[in-house]
């Protein structure tokens, strides 16, 4: 099963990167989600997949064939963090579109290389962070 998992992870990762290289903000974000899914799949698979029951112990002791709980905990953390990142990325995309009126990522990022604007005179004495 690990081989299937590896192949699936690889394909998902490829799809994710394909989407992210598309240049359109929306597709980039969707690519982030897909790539995140791929990585999460990989993380769970790292604990090996041949278990027969979930990781719940009883007073009698540890049964055999229990799933590896460590990667599960790790991936839980990763899923929640990934969600937080996704929402932030959505927010940035929203804001970037509002400022630049475009969804083409390259058109937006190119503006960072334009010469720095001069500071307005009204700013004297302030520090803007």
């Amino acid at each position: 099963m690990e081989i299937i998992a590896a192949i699936t992870t690889g394909m998902l990762a490829a799809i994710g990167i394909w989407l992210m290289l598309s240049g359109n903000l929306v597709r980039i974000l969707m690519g982030v989600v897909v790539l995140g899914n791929a990585v999460n799949l990989g993380v769970v698979a790292s604990g090996r997949l041949g278990s027969s029951q979930a990781a719940f112990t009883t007073m009698e002791g540890v049964a055999s064939g229990m799933a590896n709980p460590l990667p599960q905990a790790l991936v839980l953390t990763a899923i929640v963090i990934g969600f937080a990142l996704l929402v932030f990325a959505l927010a940035v995309a929203l804001r970037a579109h509002a400022e630049h009126d475009s969804l083409i990522a390259d058109d937006i990022t190119r503006e960072a290389l334009l010469p720095a604007p001069d500071l307005p005179a009204a700013d004297a004495g302030e520090i803007r962070t």
């Binding site: 990989g42 604990g47 940035v92 720095a116 604007p117 520090i127």
Partner: protein, 497 residues
């Protein structure tokens, strides 16, 4: 003691919580933030004092048995990094202390800075690979927030690059960390190190290690994946740029040093590769800087170039070279943040960041000129400032290690750095202002900003003059790095259930 060892994370986090709960009271938030940063600096210095006594300080989170739970290990390098983080954090907070921004942005600045400090400190003290990922995420998220703070077209353009590229890098890190677990069965750095020491690490783990180091290399802005840095650092606010410039890439460097010294204690193919990467980074970074005409973009490229030096120390792997890398880390964080701060003050005074539009500062603001000259000369490697010693150690290590090309590249980069700094000096300070004397504003910022800048300059001078004790510390830190058994022992000796 337990408190002290976890305080690098706990202090900023507590400050963060307090600031969050008291968000509406801007003045109080600023005060708490400053106190918190000062506390972090103090804790760091205490840790430095403790770590200097020889042992690696370690504690297990939750009191769980070593290598099963998460360990914290503070050796000399980590302690020094925590101390510097606190100092830079304090400087940033002081620099951005007074805000006249509308609404909540003022409080938010302090919130995110504290969050960043928590993540950075956590990354420096943890001894668990996945935990490192978590703290990476903390500082990454805080940095996302900071780089976009204040909005604006240009800023968001840079923020977009920064977010997407760093996101991918962190995903790669997560994947690699899990794969490392899958290949070795442990997430604890001491566990990895003891496997490596007994030769049981296995070939299977090498792929995961390499991918993880790649993720660190992206974070550290090494050649050829440094492009995100000059595309984004210069659009943020001044205090944010300075904080980033000082700390963020150094996390990548630190992680590289930590992992490489633990899993590959003997010099090998990897070190060869790192040597070439370091040389390429040094050159491309400094030449890229020579092509820029705005202060912060010049300085951004210099960050790349200087990181090359630190990796050079890692790649050469001799005790002297590692000591040089440690010395360089300490020196560079202070100098880089300082240069960004001063650049910000200068830009504020003349109303522009473009060199062509600046001028007249040497005549009209001599103190600013001095405060610029000190870190600039230090960066260029002029004695007796800290940068000279850092470069000297690395050049000497290269020559003693017969890495002639690396030594030549290091020296050549030094010349070009000098060229860059003198260009800024000539254009921004010596040359008369294009608009004549009306070009200067009345003030550049609050008193606290000047205090912060002066303090950082003072530290640079002190490191340079007191290079003896600092070098001793760095040498001892390098010895600890070169021999992981102390690290391993300190962690695994912790009891617990």
């Amino acid at each position: 003691m337990n408190l002290l060892l976890v305080s690098p994370v706990l202090l900023p986090m507590t400050t963060f919580i307090l600031c969050l709960l008291l968000r509406q009271h801007r003045g109080l938030v600023a005060l708490i933030s400053a106190l918190g940063a000062a506390g972090l600096a103090l804790a760091g210095l205490l840790l430095v004092g403790l770590a200097s006594q020889g042992e690696v300080l370690a504690v297990q989170m939750g009191g769980w048995q070593a290598t099963y739970g998460i360990s914290i290990a503070i050796d000399r390098l980590s302690a020094a990094m925590v101390a510097i983080t606190g100092i830079i954090g304090l400087a940033t907070v002081l620099y951005g202390l007074r805000h006249d921004e509308a609404g909540s942005l003022a409080s938010d600045f302090h919130l995110f800075v504290q969050g960043l400090l928590a993540g950075v400190a956590g990354a420096f003290i943890t001894a668990d690979v996945f935990n490192l990922y978590v703290w990476f995420e903390v500082l990454l998220m805080a940095s996302f927030a900071l780089i976009a703070l204040g909005g604006g077209r240009r800023r968001l353009a840079g923020a977009l690059s920064y977010v997407i590229l760093n996101l991918v890098a962190t995903l790669l890190f997560l994947f690699a960390a899990a794969m490392l677990y899958g290949a070795t069965g442990t997430l604890n750095m001491a566990g990895l190190a003891s496997l490596a020491a007994t030769g049981m690490l296995g070939d299977n783990a090498q792929a995961a290690i390499v991918l993880m180091l790649f993720a660190f290399a992206v974070k550290a802005a090494l050649f050829p994946v440094f492009g995100w840095l000059p595309a984004s650092y210069h659009v943020a606010g001044t205090a944010v740029s300075a904080l980033f410039a000082g700390l963020l890439t150094k996390i990548g460097v630190y992680s590289l040093i930590r992992i490489v010294t633990l899993v590959w204690p003997q010099a090998g193919l990897a070190h060869e590769v790192l040597l070439w990467v370091a040389c390429a980074t040094m050159l491309v970074g400094v030449l890229g800087a020579a092509a820029q005409v705005e202060i912060r973009r010049i300085l951004s490229f210099h960050i790349v170039s200087q990181v090359g030096y630190m990796i050079l120390g890692l790649a050469l792997a001799s005790p002297l070279a590692l000591a040089g890398a440690v010395f360089y880390l300490i020196h560079h964080i202070v100098v880089k943040a300082n240069l960004f701060f001063v650049g910000g003050l200068a830009a504020r005074l003349v109303g522009s960041e473009r060199l062509a539009a600046m001028g007249g500062l040497y005549a009209r603001r001599p103190w600013l000129a001095i405060l610029f000259a000190i870190p600039a000369l230090s960066l260029a490697g002029i004695p007796p400032l800290s940068g000279f010693w850092a470069k000297f150690i690395l050049v000497r290590a290269s020559l003693e290690g017969h890495a002639w090309i690396a030594a030549g590249v290091a020296l050549l980069t030094g010349v070009f750095t000098l060229l860059s700094m003198s260009k800024i000096w000539n254009e921004a300070f010596l040359k008369p202002h294009p608009d004549g004397t009306q070009g200067l504003r009345a003030t550049a910022g609050p008193r606290s900003a000047w205090i912060a800048v002066a303090a950082l300059a003072g530290i640079t001078v002190m490191i340079g003059l007191a290079a003896g004790p600092v070098m001793d510390y760095a040498t001892a830190a390098a010895a600890q790095l070169g021999n992981p058994s102390g690290y391993i022992q300190a962690i695994t000796a912790q009891g617990g259930h």
